[in-house]
Subunit: 343 residues, 2 copies
């Protein structure tokens, strides 16, 4: 696999991601790393980099910053890391491109330079939520297309099915449309139309709500990018709130003295608490692979967190390897054709 | 205060709410309770009810069920509990009406029979989310008006300001517009327009996201009813998920045996856990007063949970008392006029 890595667009200094590459390379002699960024700066900071025969540096003059407007920036900054990376995919010089930068810009450049998979009109991204009984629920779209039309919601479902099956090997995952509860009329005209169109999907279970996300009653929850983004951000904020509250509840002075009291016995209660806290924190974290692909475009483009760390980059590379080995692009193309034809 | 109580539209048997009334009456000799439901059934189950001089029963033949379409049901079932209750407000025979039934139907009947406050076009409802550092964040609207226009979002802000001030006595609460992160273009044309219109609000802090809800950086988060409803339901489902996960983490067999081990010491660890769990659960529950008013209409109409219990009804009555004593309707009318004129 040849992976292009935009090391400059993230929120951390570029050294962080180069360190990630150096770590990743130790277990991946078969990967070719194409680092995209300011070559002079890179070589100055890491003179040893030229000794690695499976690292190549491609120079980029420009970066798109987080606050920039995607369409404008992509056209103005022709030689930015993102445009260069995406064009390397187009020329078949790399297999995967990873960027921790401006998601909108990465999406726009992908659509312009690589184009959409046949039959799919707009790209989408998804994220996996955890469940009470284990397993994962995919929410799609989480922000690429905030004003989705009926057709886009339907395509989100199709992309979600293919992606879910590729990762979790479940060939007929169930699909639900995020809507409001029975006590109000069931959503807008657009959602009613989307419901009708999505009824063609074999495993469509109808309208779903918040509780379905966590109880395992549906595999894929389809929504517009604005709603998905709002849900994702509330969930992330609530997770933080929950962990902070947990910490406060278990660390007030009265509790501390009780714990000290107990500590005088042979059993290490602090260790017990810390172990439990770790298990708990792991369990409520949404499954995150360091990056997520932009679904629907003709190429494997991975978007990472803005504050991507070396560890997250390593995870993103491992996740890219899995998708690449599973023939991500062919699977997306062929299955989209199959599923769209069926209806 | 004279309060009309729809005892039939909830998901529990009507006896539950009558029991709530009997409890509430013990501390509220100054409240007149007007129970709306099937008078024969009520008197059969509670023959003693006729001895209470501050309980009156108003007979209603019909109920609107949760699954019914609000507009259709309100017109078809003229003599349902909800229509009767709302009309009692209109005739000034009661001060407050409470229903645990179909929210959409209650809203539709309120708008038709009571009308809107001058200057406000659509009703809205809000809910309070907890914060890490204490205090409350109001999310408005949570589902009354799923397809809000620019004007409706602006009015949600106005209603939110008056309501927040009335409850928390903060005269200039801050207002934010729920929008997407900086890495995408900032939302739809509608949201851009709403942003401009809302800039007239003195304490408008601009676009906000999920994390603002929990960190105390904003008092009122304005959104359309579809997004608000999705957020609320995800938050409720996630709360359940957290608590279940917490329970599982602390109750696996290894932990149980450790706890048993510790129990042999004089300190009651089970008691300690249970106490902590209670504190934690209380802290992550959104502040809920048993019911919430339908904001923007000319009357104090309180909507409760479908599965409203006797305790929740008691809370709803206490909350209604507070709003009534604070001259809810006059405050809403006068402040709406003042705030709308200012802009």
């Amino acid at each position: 696999m040849r992976i292009g890595i935009d090391i400059e667009s993230g929120e951390r200094p570029f050294q962080e991601l180069i360190r990630g590459v150096f770590k990743s390379i130790q277990n991946n002699s078969d990967i070719q790393y194409i680092i995209i960024g300011n070559s002079k700066k890179i070589k100055n900071s890491f003179p040893e980099i030229e000794n690695f025969k499976n690292i190549e540096i491609i120079h980029a003059d420009e970066i798109i910053y987080m606050h920039e407007k995607p369409v404008y920036a992509i056209h103005k900054k022709k030689n930015c890391t993102v445009n260069i990376g995406i064009k390397l995919i187009k020329k078949n010089l790399i297999d995967v491109f990873f960027s921790p930068g401006n998601t909108g810009a990465t999406v726009v450049s992908s659509v312009l330079n690589l184009g959409m998979i046949d039959g799919i009109k707009k790209p989408a991204m998804g994220t996996f939520f955890p469940r009470i009984g284990g397993g994962e629920t995919l929410i799609i779209d989480i922000g690429v297309n905030p004003e989705a039309k009926v057709e886009n919601l339907y395509h989100n479902a199709i992309l979600g099915i293919i992606y879910y099956n590729l990762i979790w090997e479940k060939s007929n995952p169930s699909v639900g449309l995020l809507n409001m509860g029975g006590e109000f009329e069931k959503g807008s005209l657009l959602l009613k139309k989307a419901f009708t169109v999505m009824s063609n999907i074999p495993n469509f279970i109808g309208n779903v709500e918040g509780y379905n996300v966590f109880n395992g009653s549906v595999d894929i929850v389809v929504c517009d990018g604005f709603t998905g983004n709002s849900i994702l951000k509330i969930a992330e904020a609530m997770k933080k709130f929950f962990i902070d509250t947990l910490k406060n509840v278990f660390s007030d002075n009265k509790t501390k003295s009780k714990i000290r009291n107990m500590m005088s016995y042979s059993f290490s209660l602090f260790g017990f608490y810390n172990e439990k806290k770790k298990v708990l924190t792991d369990k409520i974290l949404p499954k995150y692979f360091g990056a997520a692909p932009v679904l629907g475009i003709k190429g494997l483009v991975m978007v990472g967190h803005g504050a991507c760390t070396a560890i997250e980059l390593i995870n993103a590379i491992e996740f890219s390897k899995i998708l690449f080995k599973k023939n991500y692009i062919d699977e997306m193309k062929n299955n989209a054709k199959k599923l769209l034809k069926k209806d």
